[in-house]
Symmetry: none
Subunit: 233 residues, 2 copies
DNA sequence: CAGCTATTTGACGTTTTTGTGACAACATAA
DNA sequence: TTATGTTGTCACAAAAACGTCAAATAGCTG
């Protein structure tokens, strides 16, 4: 289960150490040295998980975590705190800010990878029933209804789940494989091309209400739900 | 929704951590360090929820849960198990004893509060004796009567409870399993498809009075009582 | 522009899910 | 007891959704 991980750590040596190990574990790591940049990146494309150093120049890790938790859109992203001190107090405060786990330096790569795996798995069944709204589309899992500017539209179960997933992970590119895993389920044996077909069905449903640029194709990579127009060269 | 919570945890530090957070979340917390005392307190005054540590000196949490489940009076009190990391397999057993949920240490206060909220909501006795009215249908539990635009119609007991439940939880989609739990009872052994049949009987009763779109099918999910028309096109 | 690859699209057969009528078991009341 | 009504289950019918393919189209590279 490879994941996109955002590593926020100012000390180059540690950054390197962590990045190497995570990459070896199959994850895709993006490195950042300060909280401000990190915040921008998170808003740009939600990572699957954030590794956040406790102490950072400028805005601290704690502060960043708090800010991310304050925003509806970034709230669900799991955060693991990297803390230098092993004090009980810090742990409490750290978790209080909304971190999902903490790990005390120095730590073994093995442990880090294990923790990440645990957090990612724990996050998985975190299916929220909360309504999602973006780009004029409103999707409510509890009533199983989708409406576009008041006008309601009907989707098959799979299209519904697909749209739900895309809307809860907006602005991010999802490969066909990822979509199959997250929308269809880990164990299904389905052609990747099938995703295309469902994307198309979803699109044509959305188009009937005038929304036609929400589900975007990223050639060679996958699909993306975005309220921003596609960037053209 | 503040609740009375009984916290059974022997380790002072964790007890403190949890208590502080729950109190901050508006709950009233009573702390106890062993199962025996806990049992006495529960019998004395039923709490709204019990947070129960898996491992306890003397009688274990599991054992306590089992005993509470065995008694008619204490059975309905929801229990959330606190388990230490790495007891994955035990989770199953824990749920088996009748726990409503479990949470693995270390956990974030945020997560704990959320779980508690979820369990309390799930357990909330939302069935009252008040008459319900929606979509031209009026249902009165106290007189056990249903009327559609004045015209009264007769339903079997099961259809009555089914309609009652649907009307008191309108617009929401209910899976067959949920309906079995809430209408038939928690642990009845009935085929899921039986729900379909009763839905059909309910529908045909309603149709005789001209109401035919109230009970809607949501393919792949379940059924829904709604006054809004099903989305078309 | 040509050649190539990736994606879109429409069609189609299959599978899954739901609707329906019938029936036997059971309870209840006359 | 019989008569009446309710309930759970089944088998089959109907409907909807699904996955796959192949042809058409679009995008990229040189």
């Amino acid at each position: 289960m490879p994941a996109n991980i955002l590593l926020v750590e100012d000390e180059p040596a540690i950054q390197e150490l962590i990045a190497v190990n995570l990459t070896r574990a199959g994850h895709h790591v993006v490195r950042v040295s300060d909280a401000e940049t990190a915040e921008r990146m998170v808003r740009e494309a939600l990572p699957d998980l954030i590794l956040l150093d406790w102490m950072l120049p400028g805005m601290s890790g704690v502060e960043l975590a708090r800010r991310l938790r304050a925003d509806e859109r970034t709230r669900p992203v799991p955060i693991i705190m990297l803390t230098a001190r092993g004090e009980e107090q810090d742990k409490v405060v750290g978790l209080d800010t909304g971190a999902d786990d903490y790990i005390t330096k120095p730590f073994s790569p093995r442990e880090l990878v294990a923790r990440i795996k645990a957090v990612l798995r724990r996050r998985a069944p975190q299916v929220t029933d909360d309504p999602v709204e973006a780009g004029g589309i409103r999707l409510d899992p509890s009533t199983h209804r989708v409406s576009a500017n008041g006008q309601s539209l009907s989707l098959g179960p799979t299209e519904f789940r697909l749209l739900h997933f895309l809307m809860t992970h907006p602005e991010r590119v999802h490969s066909r494989t990822q979509l199959l895993d997250r929308v269809w389920g880990d164990h299904v044996f389905v052609e990747e091309r099938t995703v295309d077909v469902h994307i198309r069905r979803l699109r044509s449903a959305l188009e009937q209400t005038g929304h036609d640029a929400l589900v975007q194709t990223v050639r060679g990579s996958g699909y993306r739900f975005s309220t921003q127009l596609e960037s053209n060269t």
